[in-house]
């Protein structure tokens, strides 16, 4: 395991009416992709903005390469915010040149354009880009200083599935260049595809942390049987099964599928729409919090 490039120690962020982050600690190894997962309001954006040096913590600290965040961090960090507007009337190339001019070192603008597949859009007004193209430009801006650490705050929210997959490919190519990536998302699939390690946050705290597969193995030796909620009789809820109820479905976690099926048949539960699948990160979240992910 590489040395930690970022260390988060006992972060707390309090606002007058609420505690957004309630004592969060973790470290991010250099060259890894670290995911912060959780529903809206979990505290992940506040945590990442404190890590980016945008928000001051109430207490606690963030250290970059063993030092408090400072000018070196600003020079070496690339950031893609959840929402960013750009200066009007600039083309993609001019926008990149503006940000390149703010850093002492970095990549040539043309190289960033090539890496982010913006060649055909370089002369286009930034206001005329589609959602996916805009995200690629924002990623290019985050890469313009050839950062050692890259923050991506919900980078694919609002993108169509194809644009999302294209974006993942881009992030994977950046990962391959040994960049450290901090990613927040509420798309579990995104975290499974991109992250080496994840921390699941809820109500300002980390409730689980580790490699995605290891966490799944820890929490789910079983498979999941999924049934539509409206087809699951009320009386069956009293059966001696590990039942997890979601808004539109009922899930039964088991490591003995045959015995569970026999129990369900005996209780006359309709099995026409039964689906059996392995557990994923969304199940893990449900297991840990007892609630569905709130996008």
């Amino acid at each position: 395991m590489s040395a930690a490039i970022l260390e988060v120690r006992e972060l707390v962020k309090q606002y007058p009416a609420t505690t957004a982050v309630a004592g969060v600690s973790f470290s991010v190894p250099e060259g890894s992709c670290f995911g912060l997962l959780g529903p809206n309001g979990a505290g992940k954006t506040t945590t990442i903005e404190i890590m980016e040096g945008i928000l001051p913590p109430t207490t606690g600290e963030v250290r970059y390469r063993g030092e408090p965040l400072g000018q070196r961090f600003r020079e070496e960090a690339g950031i893609l915010f959840q929402k960013t507007a750009l200066q009007d009337f600039l083309t993609v190339r001019q926008c990149l040149a503006l940000f390149r001019g703010l850093y002492a070192r970095g990549l040539e603008v043309e190289e960033v354009i090539r890496v982010c597949a913006l060649d055909k859009l370089a002369a286009r007004d930034t206001r005329k880009l589609s959602g996916g193209q805009q995200q690629r430009l924002l990623l290019a801006i985050a890469l313009v200083n050839d950062p050692a650490v890259l923050f991506l705050d919900e980078p694919t929210t609002g993108l169509d599935p194809q644009a999302r997959r294209n974006f993942w490919e881009l992030v994977q190519s950046i990962k391959a260049r040994r960049k450290t990536i901090i990613l927040t998302t509420h798309y579990m699939e995104e975290a499974e595809v991109l992250c080496d390690e994840i921390a699941i946050m809820d109500r300002g705290r980390i409730i689980a942390q580790g490699a995605p597969q290891r966490l799944l193995h820890q929490h789910f030796a079983e498979v999941l049987l999924e049934l539509p909620r409206q087809e699951f009789p009320a009386a069956a809820r009293a059966l001696p099964l590990n039942i997890i109820e979601a808004s539109d479905k009922v899930e039964i976690s088991t490591h003995d599928v045959e015995a569970t099926l026999r129990t369900l048949l005996a209780a006359q539960v309709p099995l026409t729409h039964l689906r059996i699948r392995p557990a994923n990160l969304e199940d893990l979240f449900l297991e840990l919090t007892g609630t569905e992910l709130r996008p």
Binding site: E52, F81, T84, A85, D88, L98, G101, Y103
Partner: protein
């Protein structure tokens, strides 16, 4: 630091130049105002005489001449200023009613000729001192006001709303995530707007001089210095308003709160000579008043650096004070 500053400066200039509607508005509005007002105010004058009285205040009981009808009497405490007004025919006659009574008349002024007869009917032995000088057209007096007004709107709204828009859209927050400092960002905004204002003002000055022609008795370099300091002071004032707030309504209200009193009290359209003393004093709080006082002194009276030094000093001090306050209170993001 210079590189970062230049990057922001260049991008901001491109943004302005490509926003054609704003650019067109900035250039067209003052030209149309000057041409329109030159027609509106170019007609015959009202049949009213204006007589300057050398005195700190006007006491109508002090002398029978002050009871004359159809004559507007104005107290002028300083002889040099009063004589300058007489030379420009801004007053038709100047009198010192302390015994022995003396008066000055502009021999080039037809109205001076008539009002002199009125005075001599009341005070036959008054001592006559003739002066000469052509009348000042209203447009000559108005022209610095129009340029100053354009400068004021461009400085206050141009900078104030741009910074507010950047903050609301999250662009400032994005810049905050780079090594760019607040001082570098604000300096780039100030320099961008200053360059723009100087270029626009130079175009208007040259263009209107070619179309209508106007009187300039002083140094163009002094006018440039006045424009630089005046623009800096008003840009910095705009930044203090936009430094912290995120509400368009609030910032718009505050900017209007500043611009309307300046429009009325800084002497863009008319002189505050006859206004109460406290109003004249209050008007000198505004940077625009100092810009216009200085510009008119240079253009109409040929004033030099020494005469307008207090105006320049006031503009320089307020520019520094507003900039320091703006940088101190600046916020990158909505709080």
């Amino acid at each position: 630091m210079i590189r970062r500053l230049l990057s922001v400066l260049h991008a901001r200039n491109l943004e302005f130049l490509r926003d054609r509607s704003t650019l067109l508005f900035t250039l067209l509005l003052p030209v149309m105002l000057v041409i329109g007002l030159s027609f509106v105010f170019g007609g015959p004058e009202r049949p009213l005489f204006k007589v300057g009285v050398l005195s700190a205040r006007l006491d109508r009981e002090a002398h029978p001449f002050l009871h004359e009808r159809y004559v507007d009497f104005v107290a002028l405490p300083q002889e040099a200023v009063a004589l300058r007004k007489l030379t420009h025919q801004q007053v038709d006659l100047l009198v010192d009613l302390h015994a022995p009574v003396r008066y000055w008349v502009n021999t080039d002024s037809p109205k001076g000729y008539i009002v002199e007869k009125l005075l001599l009917a009341d005070v036959p032995g008054a001592a006559r001192q003739p002066v000469q000088g052509a009348a000042l057209r209203y447009i000559d007096w108005l022209f610095p006001g129009i340029l100053g007004m354009n400068m004021m709107f461009s400085c206050l709204f141009g900078v104030g709303y741009v910074v507010l828009r950047y903050r609301k859209s999250g662009f400032l927050k994005r810049l905050h995530a780079t090594p760019l400092s607040a001082f570098e960002f604000l300096s780039a905004q100030v320099l961008s707007r200053l360059t723009l204002i100087l270029v626009v003002t130079a175009i208007l000055y040259g263009g209107i001089a070619a179309i209508i022609g106007f009187h300039n008795a002083g140094s163009v370099l002094l006018l440039v210095l006045l424009a630089v300091l005046g623009a800096l002071s008003m840009i910095a004032l705009g930044l203090t308003i936009a430094a912290r707030f995120s509400s368009e309504e609030l910032v718009g209200g505050l900017l209007n709160l500043l611009t309307w009193p300046m429009m009325v009290l800084s002497g863009i359209w008319f002189s505050l000579e006859g206004a109460p003393r406290w109003v004249q004093w209050a008007a000198h709080v505004f940077p625009l008043t100092h810009v216009l006082d200085g510009a008119r002194a240079v253009m109409l009276d040929g004033a030099g650096l020494a005469q307008i030094a207090p105006n320049l000093l006031y503009l320089a001090v307020t520019a520094l004070a507003f900039l320091a306050f703006g940088a101190w209170s600046f916020r990158w993001r909505i709080e």
